[in-house]
């Protein structure tokens, strides 16, 4: 909490520098077929109230029965966060009134959560790493959904989400800038997606953040915080923090004080505003839910889940660096999504890892981004891209031709090797043919031949000319060597 102050992260106010302190509560929807305490489905996009049991609708006399898979998912997530797993935890009632909360309380965990303290390592864009402490993770029910714009005087309530399992993951106030906050959420999302415990789909609201923001003079105790509720994109998290920090600095510098309150981020205006109506509701009157016994399981149950945990992003990154000789940056890009890492690895197995990484990151990702596609929509399969990498490795095609080949495979499909054969794309390695082209270029450019002797960097121009005259099919290394030889350049 009191790490050395990094002056680059400070915000300049009118009266000096300010440090922003951020903690986050992430609500992550648990990946499960059925809800936390009922047998109704969790799937998105159903007709209104179609995925609702009488338990979710809080009909009198209905009793909750916990879904074992949700418990497993919470434990898996705890293990992925290197966190303390509590073999005994307790469900409490968090009491408040809202039309989309038919019980009048949310079943949550208060004093005894299923997961305790853990840690997330976050890689920043500048190559540095920060450690973010996890305070706790607990299981709770989601509420239903209210729609306010279908009728002038009525709100429409759909309980399909009501009772869906959420994991609330609470960080320590270890974040010091909007960049760190965004990187933390990104990393947490990656971990959850690797574990398969939450799909991380922020557009559907399956991952959302409450952001606690306060400001202080460097070295001072923590300031009064405001909580920004339900921010549903990583970009908005950054904007909300920037706005909120500056708002607080402005108030303090004008001689005011910060009221601890709940605020809402308005993406349209890019600002936060007070949610006064939530103030009174803060008296949640938690008490243990008498409908539910304490949640207890054995260390064997935990160990069994630990054994079957997939390789996590940090481990995969280390392995990619060690096994394929990748740079830290390339490894980081590839592991950000499990699907991308798997795709890369199908190509890299038995091939040059660095070449595979280059092709996946520069050509494939570049092209996918341009078209707005995900890796799962890639028209070029791992086998096809592997085939292209093979052809370059064997010296059958040049790097330049390989890019043309990539375009053909992207738009027309087909086996790269067959395409190269059919369309005569093979690299010219026949020295006679290359020599002929080299001689022609030298003969036609006597003036430049004189210049290049003074200025060897002009060699590239000659290489370009030869490549042009051979339709890009000459082996560039052979051309280079031959030109140097004939022009007498070291």
């Amino acid at each position: 909490m009191n790490a050395p102050v990094d002056h680059k992260k400070l915000i300049k106010g009118a009266t000096g520098d300010w440090e922003v302190v951020i903690g986050m509560e992430i609500h992550a929807q648990v990946t499960s077929k059925a809800k936390l305490f009922s047998g109704a489905a969790t799937a998105f996009g159903a007709e209104p109230n179609a995925h609702v049991s009488l338990v979710d609708a809080a009909m009198p006399g209905m009793l909750p029965v916990i879904n074992r898979e949700c418990v497993r998912q919470a434990v898996r997530t705890g293990l992925g966060l290197k966190a303390q797993i509590n073999l005994r935890s307790v469900f409490d009632r968090k009491n408040y009134f809202y039309p989309d909360l038919p019980q009048g309380y949310q079943i949550s965990q208060y004093k005894f959560p299923i997961v305790g303290e853990g840690e997330v390592i976050v890689d920043m864009a500048d190559g540095t790493q920060i450690q973010v402490g996890i305070e706790r993770l607990h299981l709770e029910q989601d509420a239903g959904k209210s729609i306010h714009d279908l009728h002038p005087s009525q709100s429409f309530v759909d309980l399909n989400r009501s009772g869906v399992a959420l994991m609330e993951i609470v960080s320590k106030p270890d974040l010091r800038s909007s960049e760190e906050a965004k990187a933390y959420v990104t990393k947490l999302r990656t971990i959850l997606r690797y574990l398969g415990t939450c799909d991380g789909d922020m557009e559907k609201g399956n991952l959302r953040a409450d952001v606690n923001v306060s400001v202080r003079r460097p070295g001072d105790p923590l300031g009064t915080r405001c909580e920004i509720k339900n921010v549903n994109s990583i970009r908005f998290i950054g904007q909300a923090i920037e706005h909120e920090a500056r708002r607080q600095i402005g108030i303090i510098e004008d001689g005011g004080t910060i009221d601890q309150e709940t605020r809402l981020f308005d993406p349209g205006k890019g600002e936060t505003r007070s949610m006064r109506s939530k103030e009174e509701a803060h008296d949640y009157r938690y008490f243990p839910d008498p409908d539910l016994l304490p949640l207890e399981f054995t260390q064997d149950f935990v160990d069994e889940l630990a054994t079957h945990l997939p390789e996590l992003p940090d481990e995969k990154k280390e392995r990619f660096i060690a096994e394929y000789g990748l740079s830290v940056y390339d490894a980081g890009v590839l592991i950000a999504e499990r699907e991308s890492a798997d795709f890369f690895e199908r190509i890299a197995k038995g091939r040059d890892g660095k070449a595979a990484a280059n092709w996946v990151i520069n050509e494939l990702f570049g092209r996918l981004n341009k078209e707005g596609l995900g890796i799962e929509d890639s028209p070029v399969s791992a086998d096809q891209l592997g085939g292209i990498v093979d052809l370059i490795g064997e010296g059958v095609i040049s790097g330049k031709i390989a890019k043309d080949l990539f375009e053909i495979v992207w738009s027309e499909g087909g086996d790269p090797r067959a395409i190269v054969d059919e369309r005569g794309m093979k690299q010219v390695t026949d020295t006679g043919a290359i020599e002929k082209a080299v001689d022609e270029v030298i003969a036609a450019n006597a003036e430049k031949v004189e210049q290049v002797k003074e200025k060897p960097s002009m060699l590239g121009w000659f290489v370009g000319q030869v490549m042009k005259s051979t339709g890009g099919k000459a082996n560039p290394q052979a051309v280079n060597a031959m030109l140097k030889d004939k022009l007498g350049i070291e």
């Binding site: 209104p48 049991s53 009728h151 005087s153 709100s155 429409f156 207890e296």
Partner: protein
């Protein structure tokens, strides 16, 4: 422990129970009588005793992750004072 009239109003508001000003003194008396009665329990030493939330000495039963319920929106909204197209309708609530 006792409650003042302001606390009585606050508890009523949190529970969404309409209490008229005339009722407050009476309710305050009743609540304080109950609290005084419960206060006798303070005489028992409960150091290191965990709060008991259940009398059954058994582990919590769990369900398997299967879809066993749902697809009956008409039943779900059957008792609602107002509904439309499978939705519950409530007086407008907007933040």
């Amino acid at each position: 422990m006792s409650v003042d009239q302001e606390t009585v109003r606050r508890i009523a508001r949190l529970a969404r129970i309409a209490v008229s000003d005339d009722d407050v003194p009476h309710l305050q008396g009743e609540l304080n009588a109950i609290l005084a009665f419960v206060e006798q329990l303070g005489e028992v030493d409960v150091t290191d005793v965990e709060p008991m939330t259940s009398v059954t000495p058994m582990a919590m039963k769990m369900r398997e992750d299967g879809i066993t319920d749902g697809d009956r929106p008409t039943d779900i909204v059957a008792n609602a004072p107002a509904s439309d197209d499978g939705f519950f309708l409530v007086p407008k609530v907007v933040e």
